[in-house]
Symmetry: C2
Subunit: 462 residues, 2 copies
Amino acid sequence: MIPVLTRHREAPIESIRIRLAAILLLAFSVLPVPASATGDAGKPDVSRFQLANGMEVVVIPDRRAPVVTHMVWYKSGSSDDPPGKSGLAHFLEHLMFKGTKNVPAGEFSRKVAEIGGQENAFTTVDFTAYYQKISPEALEMVMFHEADRMANLVLTEEVIAPEKNVVLEERRSRVDSSPASVLGETVAALLYKHHPYGTPIIGWEHEIRELTLDDAMGFYKAHYRPDNAVLVVAGDVEAQQVLALAEANYGRLSPGEGAVPVNTIEEPEPVAARFAEYFDERVTTPSFERYYLVPSYQTGQPGEAEALDLLASILGGSSTARLYRKLIVEDEVATSAGAWFQGASRGLTRFGLFGRPRGKHSVEDVEMAIAKVLEDIMEHGVTQEELDRQRNALVKSVIFERDSQTTLARLYGTVLSLGGTVEDIHEWPQRLAAVTVEDINQVARKYLRPHRSVTSYLRPKP
Amino acid sequence: MIPVLTRHREAPIESIRIRLAAILLLAFSVLPVPASATGDAGKPDVSRFQLANGMEVVVIPDRRAPVVTHMVWYKSGSSDDPPGKSGLAHFLEHLMFKGTKNVPAGEFSRKVAEIGGQENAFTTVDFTAYYQKISPEALEMVMFHEADRMANLVLTEEVIAPEKNVVLEERRSRVDSSPASVLGETVAALLYKHHPYGTPIIGWEHEIRELTLDDAMGFYKAHYRPDNAVLVVAGDVEAQQVLALAEANYGRLSPGEGAVPVNTIEEPEPVAARFAEYFDERVTTPSFERYYLVPSYQTGQPGEAEALDLLASILGGSSTARLYRKLIVEDEVATSAGAWFQGASRGLTRFGLFGRPRGKHSVEDVEMAIAKVLEDIMEHGVTQEELDRQRNALVKSVIFERDSQTTLARLYGTVLSLGGTVEDIHEWPQRLAAVTVEDINQVARKYLRPHRSVTSYLRPKP
């Protein structure tokens, strides 16, 4: 899931990806600590409904402040872009701010801003989401407008060309201006030989240029429908009150006709280790990255994703992890080194390792040092002590992260958009607690194998 | 263009590819030598017609023996497979032998065999072709049946499952049983990050399994129509007689409705050098290959493909070429080494280098030796002497290769299926003669650059 945030321009796509991976990992830990530790009292009192037209509704009470987060998630993202139309889901996300047959362009955003609210939207490979952070009284207003633009979007040729320029400029600033992002696009294409996750969310430039009003309306009609949407409301609200508002606003929309088109392309089994090397004059420090194709929470055998999450923490989630201790503290070969696992994904996902050399060291030195750390795990396995420690660190971060209403809403939206359930989320701490040393060793040996990997070197142009 | 020959099982897909590259290169040289050398008398008396329904007809007289080659080419191949339906064009090619509403399955093949004729079919990324080699009297019969199956194919569920097993077995024998082919699939996916040339012609196994009767009929209806077909007849025939037969048989077919669907996906510019490494216990000698993404005769600037053809000859087309002399004769580092260029391709194509180490030498030694040969060309360029020598060798092969009627028919079919003209073929020797040393140095420096390349190592499993 590489999210493309529409309006927030400050960060390049690559950093956002890593940031989101962290958010998702931490988001899972927003959950209550296992029942054994806190009892059921720690479980948020989450309600879930389904409207007659198929739209799912999740309400997460959070009464610390008079604030509400309202999100609508469509279970369609860039991997649903038709072939040759890369960037379409993201382009439509931009166009969703262009007005409806009931309200002119900009009015919804203006109303949110007037009451001091915030709004944004993002597109990932799997889904597209729109959200507002507002005071509780404004919930009805945002629901009216969000429901309105789910059914009544109006696009004209006049808005297509300028908005395309905005997206092209976004591509230049996010991708072209960032050597890591340029390389990242190649790496994604190498990791996914066949699956559309190998295509950039923002789209290839030459295809963005050719996107039309008809393309956008086609995607809108096929995917923007209540039976393909999840409403998440978190904050100072009552479930029944939210349900009543949802029924009044979203409930009156007709469900789409026929089934929602779903991308069913599967990635074939990987066979060969792959590498990419990119030289760019804007690079000052070289860097090493490796991705492994691994199962996600959605595709893996029971327990595999949990074990991969813990393996990432043990390898490189923090300064107490193996990569940090070995590469940065002991060998002084790197200035940064770590590991991450992108657990939430409709299809096969990524386990990542990265490092930047320090001083006179090369990316090859970093690669070799990381390989040694991996080898040690393959041969001797992880220890019970570090599993307990890293799992405990996750549990502690629960308390820390519980503060963020947005993170909470985002977690439920992500899991439900991927076809998961509230129970999947609530039972996650118990499932994490059940992971053994042997489970972790097994996923490491099964998935962190060369033929499943893409290694990339980002280097200064000589 | 990686052709998948349907019936001939003897050779794995990889060798056939290289063989076809050679055929196409040589096929071009079946052409008369430049007018300056032979006068117009050397030009075959080729006739070209277009039927009212849009079907193109090419007749190539060749009266040395009472033999006729009859080919029908559809300008659609595996790159037209719908996403998630890889292998469909090739599967349909198999199913085209299953009978029509007029004749039962096998009757057409039986009639060809009865008169001692030969038949076959093949699918490439760009086109699909069916051909028969027969005596002139049988031309009417094969035209009747080929036209009949262009319009009247009948498929039933009973033929789908068994034929799918035949294709799956073909995949096992062509790809899975050949380490080079297994690696080749990954390499294609790496070279084409976005374009469907990155998908195997025969299809990914899990997608072949899901192909249905409806998929096959859908592809058939969309692509098998006279306005998407080229008829090539070579042999002991008169143009007017062929035209009359073509009008009687193919001319009565209705043109398709609307435009033929054409894959318009373009490959983005490459940015990063890519590598793949594959270990297989069945490999006895390791091997090195490198592909560069380069323009084809169809996509390049005028003269570029001609220069790339000559560059391939100079580098490694024969035992007088640089790679052979340096790696095999002088340094004794390799047992084989060469270069090839796949000139005929609707989209961006491949320039290949390869080598197998000798004795104790490694693939890295071979790679380094090839790199030195390339470096020398980049720095000092090719010489007029070797350009003249290699061009002359091509001209000589004209005389040698003119013998093959099939090669001749295949050349015209290939070029016309790719949207080229008879003139493109006839003027090729003059265009080849116009290539200068500077032209060759320019394409070498422009296209044989690391960021355009995929390097692969095939190694024995340790």
